[in-house]
């Protein structure tokens, strides 16, 4: 498959701080490409470089096989984007905002199509309301309508589910899958919602401190059968000792701040649970989750997910 985005050794330095360090990756046509990293990892800087908002200190970016800086206009005509949050003209209506950005995209779009576009993102009832009266979720949906109004073949979404409620997040997920699977669009999506990315991304890039940690197809990077069990007991210290002395010590056992974790195959979960009960460990909770979050964090900071989100 042809690479829609080809990034070669890009770096960006802000005075003494290296925000992106010699980063290379490629996004193939029709893919949903997940871009993962903790806050400050360099995701937004990279996305801004892909959209020519920031000039790389070094390196080269090709989009649709063309050099980004030399063919900026041609490339951006085929790109739709949301960067961080969809900030819009609050004193204008949704339709006026959409009309403005559609015109800036360089194509004439009939008013009827603009209204249809707003209806598609669920804003049909509020097209004439001023954006300042919109909720965060509505703004996000309007931002998506703006990103898609000129029918781009590459869509770049930076944290598209920020500020959305669970229903909103599900709507965005369905929209992304529809754009990719039904319409054949290529999507580059950055997010910190790892579970969401796992559901939609075909390939994934994880970066930390501006550097690439790992890149590959999601199904190759993570074994879907691998599970992390989070165990909370009345006395984690003695439970941890008991587990280490038992036959369960063949699994990777780790004691964290507020729980004990065991890495194992999903089929082994019932057996392990039974064994723990037989060991008379007073269990408060037993939670089995996919390993992606831990995989991601072990690659980046080494923190547990729970630690990372509470810090």
């Amino acid at each position: 498959m042809a690479a829609v985005i080809q990034v070669r050794n890009i770096s960006k330095k802000f005075r003494e701080v290296k925000a992106v360090d010699n980063l290379s990756f490629s996004v193939e046509s029709g893919q949903v490409y997940g871009f993962l990293g903790q806050n400050g990892a360099g995701k937004s800087t990279t996305i801004r470089m892909l959209l020519t908002l920031i000039k790389p200190t070094s390196g080269e970016i090709e989009i649709f096989g063309m050099n980004l800086l030399k063919h900026r206009k041609e490339i951006l005509r085929q790109v739709g984007a949301i960067i961080e949050r969809p900030d819009l003209y609050k004193y204008l209506s949704a339709l006026e905002n959409l009309r403005i950005f559609a015109a800036m995209s360089g194509i004439k779009i009939p008013e009827k199509k603009l209204i249809e576009q707003l209806a598609k993102v669920g804003l049909a009832e509020r097209i004439h309301s001023k954006v300042k009266t919109y909720s965060q979720g509505m703004k996000q949906r309007l931002g998506i309508a703006i990103a898609l109004v000129h029918d781009p073949s590459l869509i770049i979404l930076d944290e598209p589910t920020n500020g959305l409620d669970p229903q909103g997040i599900a709507d965005i997920r369905h929209l992304i899958l529809h754009l990719s699977k039904d319409l054949g669009k290529t999507l580059l999506i950055s997010s910190h919602l790892l579970s969401e990315m796992e559901l939609i991304a075909d390939s994934m890039l994880i970066i930390d401190k501006g550097r690439k940690i790992v890149e590959g197809k999601v199904n190759e990077l993570f074994d879907p059968a691998e599970t992390v069990v989070e165990l909370k007991t009345t006395d984690d210290t003695s439970a941890f000792e008991q587990l280490q002395q038992s036959f369960l010590n063949r699994y990777e056992i780790e004691k964290r701040n507020d729980c004990i974790t065991l890495k194992l195959h999903r089929n082994e979960v019932p057996l392990v649970m039974k064994e723990i009960v037989q060991m008379n460990i007073d269990v408060i909770s037993f939670y089995s989750k996919h390993s992606l979050e831990d995989y991601f964090l072990s690659l980046t900071t080494g923190q547990s997910y729970a630690e990372a989100i509470t810090n």
């Binding site: 802000f14 801004r48 959209l51 020519t52 908002l53 920031i54 000039k55 900026r72 206009k73 041609e74 951006l76 005509r77 790109v79 984007a81 949301i82 960067i83 961080e84 949050r85 969809p86 900030d87 819009l88 003209y89 609050k90 004193y91 204008l92 006026e96 403005i100 950005f101 015109a103 800036m104 995209s105 360089g106 703006i146």
Partner: protein
């Protein structure tokens, strides 16, 4: 480009704050006109106070003096000092305001070059400035002519007074308003340049006004060392050159020559300096903006 300019003007004129400037001009012009309508005689007496020893002014002369043309001249003298603030409100907001709203980054992901974007933004600021001046011209000149009527216009100068025939006035006002447009565009260009560095419109607006105030003080100060060193190069020195269109040549008998301008080369020189400033400010703004990383 035309479509982009339409969008820009749409955005400017959709904002309620845009009309504050128009409202401010309308109110002050109206207040001056009302005051002079009811107490114009006292104002004229005050105006002629310094000259009463050298000239004998009849009541008929005084009543003719208070006509629409003079009122407009008084209004222009008063308002053209305040107008830079109104112009800076829009020009200072053009880039910094977009950065502050977060719309700058979205706009710059569209297939428009940064130079084109700046050209459109600046053109819109200039159109706003011209619209403001047209509004002022209609209210100050047309309004005053309708209220006070027309007559010969008397211009008071330090060396005496000069009388311009009523039929010789209108073209001078057209030139003066045209010149004022260039003068205010200079302020607009300065504010526009400062706007590129900021992410909040307040900074460029305050910085523009501070520069205009400091430069105006320097321009007005009578310190010989500044006369040939600093003053000729300050744009504020040249912003008031519009008055030159109302300074006329006189013949050997002291009669004013219709259609003449006392020192046209000086006006052209001032105009050229303002144009150089505009090019310098706008050129620098484009140069900085093209290199700027958009982090807002």
């Amino acid at each position: 480009m035309r479509r982009l300019l339409q969008i820009e003007l749409f955005k400017i004129f959709k904002r309620p704050r845009t009309y504050i400037a128009f409202g401010a001009i309308a109110s002050i012009v109206l207040l001056i006109q009302i005051a002079l309508k009811y107490d114009g005689k006292s104002y004229i007496d005050l105006l002629l106070n310094n000259l009463k020893d050298s000239f004998d002014f009849t009541d008929d002369f005084k009543s003719k003096l208070l006509n629409g043309y003079l009122i407009c001249f008084i209004i222009l003298n008063t308002l053209l000092i305040q107008m830079p603030l109104l112009v800076a409100l829009i020009a200072g907001d053009s880039i910094a305001g977009e950065a502050n709203m977060g719309t700058l980054r979205l706009s710059l992901t569209k297939p428009i070059s940064r130079t084109q974007y700046m050209l459109v933004k600046f053109s819109a600021s200039v159109i706003y400035t011209i619209a403001l001046l047209i509004c002022m011209a209609i209210l100050a000149l047309l309004g005053s002519v309708l209220i006070f009527g027309t007559n010969d216009m008397v211009v008071l100068r330090s060396e005496g007074i000069e009388q311009i025939k009523s039929f010789d006035v209108v073209w001078r006002y057209i030139c003066a308003f045209g010149y004022a447009a260039v003068a205010l565009t200079t302020v607009s260009a300065l504010s526009f340049l400062l706007s590129v560095f900021a992410e909040n419109a307040i900074g460029p607006i305050i910085a523009t006004m501070s520069i205009v105030i400091v430069f105006t003080i320097l321009s007005e100060m009578n310190i010989p060392i500044y006369d040939n060193t600093i003053k000729p190069y300050l744009f504020t020195t040249h912003m008031v050159a519009w008055k030159g269109f109302f300074y006329v040549k006189a013949d050997a008998e002291g009669t004013t020559i219709n259609g003449s301008i006392e020192n046209l080369p000086a006006i052209i020189r001032s105009l050229s300096i303002l144009l150089i400033y505009i090019i310098l400010f706008f050129g620098s703004a484009v140069w900085v903006f093209r290199k700027k990383d958009i982090l807002s």
